[in-house]
């Protein structure tokens, strides 16, 4: 009695083991991400699909094993060629070249042994561990139609369309196929007739040599030549391009959710921001970027540095810049709003603003900051303010914190040391934090 079952659609059952494995190596993964974060630039982190290797020695499973290296053993081996009983075979000088000789019995059961075989976690998987349990707080409630936008998208090829959308490649391909198909048979016939004509010519020549009559053959040859001419005309008449060949790229309007986000990183680069402060800010921005990137298909970053005035810059300039002068925050916020209006209309983008500063803002600017922020906030998903300094809360920090009571999507935090950043990030994004405001 036999039963045959198709189990293929049952899927794999490894996820529970996978979860536990990741749990086990979480410390490693965090350390590795930290290390990457220190070394790499923001964008690289996500391009870098290269996995993180975890040495299996971390995952070592000990057991009582024999160690046959320095002991007497005897082994039976296959494939003797020239040995006789009593032969002596010099030992290899290097002790670790044991595979050929002795290790077989001792190691065979273990299989993988202590080798540094790496376990591969994809970048995605370790980010999942890193951001495990975190969520974007106070995500502004959006109506579904806000998330949908109509967009023209390519939708295959059609036979009719406006000349401007004609697809040359496709059209030529169809034309060629048609020409070949129509010509093939006629070419065949043409070859056949040509061959018959040649045979006839040969016949005529031979008969002439023998002085025989060739009139019938000549008549027939003339007939065939006419046929060949007619065929050649027909072949020529096959148009290079026909109306039926035309192909047009088709586009169609499809609703599509907005899956792109933009992060405005705003940083104070005035003289009071030192390397330590910038490193703190960088860490924060990196984590934020990675985290937000997990929620959306594509994330753009706009870097804005400011001191007395604000300007958009590259990532290198952003973290490398050291400019003197006093600090004014409001111009930076004004620039954010300006860029938003030009390039990232809020109805098509999920917008985040992350600002880092030592909070050393000119007193009379804070009023302007409040104004700017009030006009900005309703258009954002979240705004983050990270204050990096060694001393007291500043007036700017207090201002933001006060505003956050009316705008829960505004989140404020202070950091002093590198190691503050990740815990701070966790507390900002752990769901409980949101609930307090919600």
């Amino acid at each position: 009695m036999s039963m045959i079952i198709d189990r293929r659609n049952l899927g794999t059952r490894s996820s529970a083991n996978q979860d536990r494995l990741q749990r086990r190596v979480r410390g490693r993964v965090k350390a590795a991400v930290e290390k990457l974060a220190r070394r790499r630039s923001l964008g690289d982190m996500l391009d870098a699909e290269q996995p993180i290797a975890i040495p299996t020695k971390d995952l070592h499973e000990p057991s009582f094993r024999r160690d046959m290296r320095d002991t007497a053993w005897e082994q039976v081996l296959p494939g003797n060629k020239q040995f006789r009983q009593g032969d002596l075979i010099p030992k290899p000088l290097d002790g670790d070249d044991g595979d050929g000789g002795g290790e077989g019995t001792a190691g065979a059961s273990g299989g993988l042994g202590d080798d540094e075989i790496a376990i591969v976690l994809s970048a995605d998987e370790f980010l999942a561990v890193l951001f495990d349990g975190l969520e974007l707080p106070n995500l502004r409630q959006t109506r579904t139609e806000d998330i949908q936008i109509e967009q023209w998208r390519r939708a295959g090829f059609v036979k009719e369309g406006s000349p401007s959308r004609m697809h040359i490649g496709r059209t030529m391909r169809t034309a060629r196929a048609r020409r070949m198909a129509l010509r093939a048979r006629k070419k065949h016939e043409h070859e056949e007739l040509t061959r018959r004509a040649e045979t006839l010519e040969e016949e005529i020549r031979v008969r002439q040599d023998h002085g025989e009559d060739t009139s019938i053959e000549r008549f027939r040859l003339a007939e065939i030549r006419d046929e060949i001419k007619a065929l050649e005309r027909k072949i020529k008449a096959i148009p290079f391009i026909d109306e039926s060949d035309l192909r047009f790229a088709h586009i169609d309007q499809m609703p599509r959710p907005v899956t792109s986000a933009v992060i405005f990183c705003v940083m104070d680069v005035s003289g009071s921001m030192g390397d330590i402060e910038k490193d703190l800010a960088k860490r924060f921005f990196l984590l934020l970027y990675l985290f937000i990137h997990r929620q959306y298909r594509a994330v753009e970053i706009v870097f804005i540095k400011h001191h007395g005035e604000a300007s958009e810059c590259t990532e290198q300039e952003f973290f490398g810049a050291k400019e003197g002068g006093g600090t004014l925050v409001s111009p930076a916020l004004a620039l954010v709003e300006e860029i938003m209006a030009q390039r990232f209309p809020p109805e098509h983008w999920n917008i985040y603003v992350a600002q880092a500063s030592d909070g050393d803002n000119a007193q009379d600017d804070n009023r302007l900051v409040q104004e700017r922020a009030l006009s900005l906030l309703p258009q954002l998903r979240n705004m983050f303010y990270l204050e990096v300094n060694q001393d007291q809360e500043t007036a700017l920090f207090r201002l933001y914190r006060q505003m956050s009571e009316d705008f829960p999507e505004l989140l404020t935090a202070r950091a002093r040391h590198t190691e503050d950043i990740y815990p701070l990030f966790r507390s900002l994004f752990s769901p409980r934090q949101g609930a307090v405001h919600g």
Binding site: M3, R8, S63, R65, M68, S109, I119, V120
Partner: protein
């Protein structure tokens, strides 16, 4: 036979109908020509991914989750993707009904081969081999695995994944030292298991306080040290800890028991690898030829079969890059084929070596060999001079003090007996874990557990120390291991246990 019999298949695509027909035909051949007695078959078609799953859990169809299986899978997936490792064409489980997995990538010829090999060869071996009959319970295993999985999931809920994992880690470290080699285990039954679990909890409480009664109390009676506990050394470390660890919570004891039971179930597979694979190869070899002789498979199919068959039973020489020890398929198949040859075409040499040489009832002797032995005794009984010559076996001795290895025997008249017992010894040793036994528990002092290495082979000390740490975590007090030249001590409280 029937020349007119239509081929089972002409192209090489498998379908479920073809698999069903092939299974039926193979079943007929197995019964008529080989008199195989098998469990009912349950043949399951799976994907490569699912095969990797099965690999990760030592072939069991269901297992409790643990990170080590995830690790195993990650390693194997990597090797498979890089093309360093091919997947087995099949996997078969010693259960009733006997479950065989076929991979969907296989051609129809391969499926036919695999059905003969696994669903009939291994299946018959599981059902009839003395060792499997005594040590494993094909009836109960699936239910038991289900029970184990549920129980451990329950524990994870109550005590947390990390706590459960810690206990499993420790138990796995002792996996190979958790088998009763001399005692037949009880049958597995899920319902009994539930009941017994409750009884056990009560019993252990009582029993433990019995052992430890004198400890915390101020009774300073020095009369007792004569009474050794345990009376005799105990080889099953998991069992001993499960029953006697002073403060182990009941659920941890249960987990130890589960790991131990599964280790016990898997134990015979390591003891009969050569025979099991050899017999399965013998069966598929016979069946494929019969199918061909009956006109059920074509010449092309037979050629494809030869290609896979020779790859499976290929034995690389000791000096080849591909050498990875004696190939159990090669040795097992060679010996089983040789038993048949000795029956049907014996030489004078065979008559000297084997009493059954020339007995035309070869099937009887194949069955006897398959039923009554395990690898060690099988080689000792049946390895013939011819097979030793074919494999060009020789024995090499290492004296750590000498500059050279010495060839102690080769495949010639002086060497046969020696080679045969040397190989049997080697097989026995490699299938055996280092012999570490519990010799004493210090009941009157610091409660340390005293272990002793009983065999002559040196231990890997790094491994041993890490393993001892696990034991100390379970035992709750210090653990001493007398390893001959060195005494190792693991302190309790180093690990997660308070």
């Amino acid at each position: 036979m029937a020349d007119s019999a239509p081929l089972l298949f002409t192209d090489n695509e498998w379908t479920f109908e073809r698999i069903a027909t092939a299974t039926e035909r193979i079943g007929e051949i197995a019964a008529r020509e080989l008199a195989l007695d098998t469990y009912p078959n349950q043949i399951e078609v799976i994907t490569a991914e699912q095969m990797l799953d099965a690999y990760a859990s030592t072939g069991l169809p269901m297992y409790y989750p643990h990170w080590s299986f995830g690790k195993q899978r990650a390693i194997e997936t990597g090797q498979y993707r890089r093309g360093e490792m091919g997947l087995a064409y099949e996997l078969v489980i010693n259960s009733n009904p006997c479950i065989s997995y076929l991979m969907e990538e296989n051609t129809m010829v391969m499926q036919t081969l695999v059905i003969a090999h696994a669903a009939f060869g291994h299946n018959a071996f599981f059902k009839n081999n003395m060792f499997f009959r005594q040590w494993t319970d094909a009836e109960g295993i699936l239910d038991y695995l289900e029970f184990a999985k549920t129980y451990i999931a329950h524990c994870e809920e109550l005590y947390g994944i990390d706590a459960v994992s810690g206990v499993i880690d420790a138990a796995h470290a002792l996996n190979r030292n958790g088998v009763d080699r001399a005692r037949r285990p009880q049958k597995l039954s899920t319902r009994d298991e539930q009941r017994r679990r409750r009884e056990r909890a009560a019993f252990i409480e009582q029993h433990l306080s019995e052992i430890w009664r004198t400890v915390p109390g101020g009774v300073e009676s020095v009369a007792a040290p004569e009474e050794r506990f345990p009376k005799d050394p105990q080889e099953n470390l998991i069992y001993f800890i499960e029953k006697n660890a002073p403060h182990l919570e009941t659920w941890k004891r249960e987990i130890l028991r589960i790991v131990r039971k599964i280790a016990q179930y898997l134990y015979p597979q390591g003891q009969t690898k050569i025979m099991n694979e050899g017999f399965a190869c013998f069966v598929h070899y016979h069946v494929m030829h019969s199918l061909h002789a009956m006109g059920l498979i074509g010449d092309g199919a037979l050629l494809e079969f030869y290609a896979s068959h020779t790859a499976v039973i290929f034995q690389p020489d000791y000096d080849s890059r591909r050498y990875a020890g004696i190939n159990p398929y090669a040795l097992g198949f060679a010996i089983f084929q040789d038993i048949k040859r000795v029956c049907l075409n014996p030489t004078d040499e065979d008559r000297q070596w084997f009493a059954f040489a020339g007995d035309p009832d070869w099937l009887k002797h194949i069955h006897f060999a398959m039923r009554e032995f395990r690898d060690e005794s099988f080689v000792l009984q049946y390895l013939s001079p011819k097979v030793m010559r074919d494999l060009h076996l020789f024995a090499l001795e290492n004296d750590p003090g000498a500059d050279a290895f010495r060839v102690t025997a080769v495949h010639d008249d002086q060497g046969y007996q020696y080679l045969r017992s040397a190989l049997a010894r080697q097989i026995a040793e490699s299938a055996r874990a280092p012999d570490i036994e519990v010799v004493a528990v210090n009941r009157w002092g610091d409660r340390h557990l005293h272990l002793q290495k009983m065999d002559a082979y040196p231990l890997d000390q790094g491994e041993a120390r890490k393993t001892l740490d696990h034991i100390a975590r379970l035992w709750g007090y210090d653990v001493h291991l007398d390893a001959g030249d060195v005494v190792m001590i693991a302190h309790a409280g180093k690990g997660s246990e308070p």
